[in-house]
């Protein structure tokens, strides 16, 4: 019997959907086993189609994106109500995603910047008709409703999604591994004493040696190994887009711990190398960090 499933998009770039359809012909292996009840990314479903379903009638609900609008919160709650197994699909859904970086500012500052002050704006006005209101800050979905499973990644690879879907269809577990991107990376590494960091476009990258050893900030050591080390394999440092392995509580704290151990620089030099630690260390999971939660409390208090 096919499983009833839904794929919902909250505020997101839809890259996770793209990664799913990138399965190409392998999609044909799983599609016959799925009874799709809601998937607006590919078929013209309406929210009411989802709302009409009986409670708990979906075997699996996939949620992509995070809650930037009140409408997103509503859709998330409906998905929770209808799904027996709810899956946080992609780093947006698991950790808040790139849009979580906006938690550095109040929503008013963010709206002013985007709609009134951005260089490309020619007709400055804040849209206020027929649009849902914004949420004050990004809260990771698992802090809003409970989830049975998370599949991190920005986006998760097609293989990750395939493995998760097959596990869900066959009732097998899909556990996140406690390995890192470094564990999957083929580059040769040495004892680290980093004296200087370079931007990715500076210098020539040796294709065989560890990027970190060469002074490029590669976050493979603090990032869960699920992607097959695809960025370092393509001569580009890992930006940490999959978030940390399950045993690490705070991605950026782990990165800071490691940088303290492998760098050979004065505190002043180190500070000047990382003027934007939030952007550098919490690319897709700032909203899930301790410091974002503290800063958010600070802001709502002084409002």
């Amino acid at each position: 019997m096919p499983k009833r499933v839904a794929f919902a998009q909250l505020s997101s770039c839809w890259g996770c959907d793209q990664s799913l359809v990138d399965l190409h012909l392998r999609l044909l292996e799983v599609l016959p086993q799925l009874e799709i009840k809601y998937w607006p990314a590919v078929v013209d479903y309406k929210l009411s189609d989802l709302e009409r379903l009986p409670k708990g009638s979906l075997h699996v609900g996939f949620v992509e994106g995070s809650c930037r609008t009140q409408e997103d919160v509503h859709l998330l709650e409906v998905m929770r109500e209808k799904s027996q197994v709810l899956v946080a699909w992609g780093s947006c859904s698991c950790y808040g995603g790139v849009q979580g970086l906006a938690n550095q500012w109040s929503i008013d500052e963010a709206i002013t910047r985007k709609f009134l002050k951005a260089d490309t704006v020619t007709d400055p006005r804040v849209p206020d008709e027929n649009v849902p209101g914004f949420t004050d800050h990004i809260v990771p979905n698992p802090d809003i409703v409970p989830f049975e499973l998370i599949i991190p990644g920005c986006p998760p690879t097609s293989d990750n999604i395939y493995d998760a879907v097959v596990a869900l269809l066959t009732g097998k577990p899909f556990d996140l591994p406690d390995r890192t991107v470094c564990d999957e990376c083929p580059r040769e590494r040495e004892e680290k004493h980093i004296k200087e960091f370079h931007r990715t476009y500076e210098g020539h990258i040796d294709p065989n040696k560890c990027l970190l050893d060469q002074g490029y900030l590669c976050l493979g050591f603090a990032t869960i190994g699920l992607c097959g080390a695809q960025c370092p394999s393509a001569n580009s440092p890992c930006k940490g887009c999959f978030g940390p392995p399950p045993s690490i509580k705070d991605h950026g704290a782990k990165i800071i711990a490691a940088l303290g151990a492998i760098t050979d620089m004065s505190p002043e030099e180190l500070k000047s190398m990382f003027p934007d630690p939030i952007g550098s260390f919490y690319f897709t999971d700032y909203a899930a960090s301790f410091i974002s939660k503290i800063a958010t409390a600070e802001r709502s208090d002084t409002k």
Binding site: K249, K254, G260, M265, F274, F290, I294, A295, A297
Partner: protein
């Protein structure tokens, strides 16, 4: 016993800064600062009672997660006290802490959380007075900053 609980409930409603007694976590290394804290105690140096000390073997063992988690759980400030540079029992643990601390300061500052809520000091086993001064300074700083946002009910 009874009267003290009563006192608590009457002072609770007043929130002026004079009455704010900070809760500070101090992470001290076993070999220097914890011994220094001990010395401060046995020499009966006056120290404000706002600090809870946790002993670690070396400041190099302090995962930045401990510090951020403590602030998240409502500590008003976190003080880290270790051996002077060059004196680390494990050679360079304190230098690792110093580097981590520099990045943590950048992180707090960028996030909009006052970086003075965290502080790093050096105090050797013989410097009970330096340790006690450090604690007093920390308490004064945090009193000026006010309670942690996590305790102000602003969540």
């Amino acid at each position: 016993m009874k009267s003290s609980t009563k006192m608590k409930s009457t002072t609770k409603s007043k929130t002026s800064k004079e009455q704010f007694e900070p809760r500070i976590l101090a992470l001290c290394c076993n070999w220097c600062s914890y011994a220094g804290a001990d010395l401060a105690g046995t020499s009966r140096l006056q120290m404000p009672p706002n600090v809870r000390i946790i002993r670690v073997n070396c400041t190099g063992r302090i995962d930045p997660t401990f510090i951020l988690d403590a602030l998240y759980q409502g500590a008003d400030g976190v003080l880290i006290s270790g051996c002077h540079p060059g004196d680390c029992h494990y050679t360079t643990g304190n230098l690792k802490m110093r580097a981590r601390f520099a990045l943590l300061q950048n992180l707090l500052e960028e996030a909009g959380v006052d970086p003075r809520r965290i502080h790093l000091q050096w105090a050797s086993a013989a410097e009970g007075d330096v340790f006690a001064d450090g604690i007093r300074g920390m308490v004064e700083r945090i009193k000026k900053l006010g309670p942690s946002p996590m305790r102000r009910g602003g969540k």
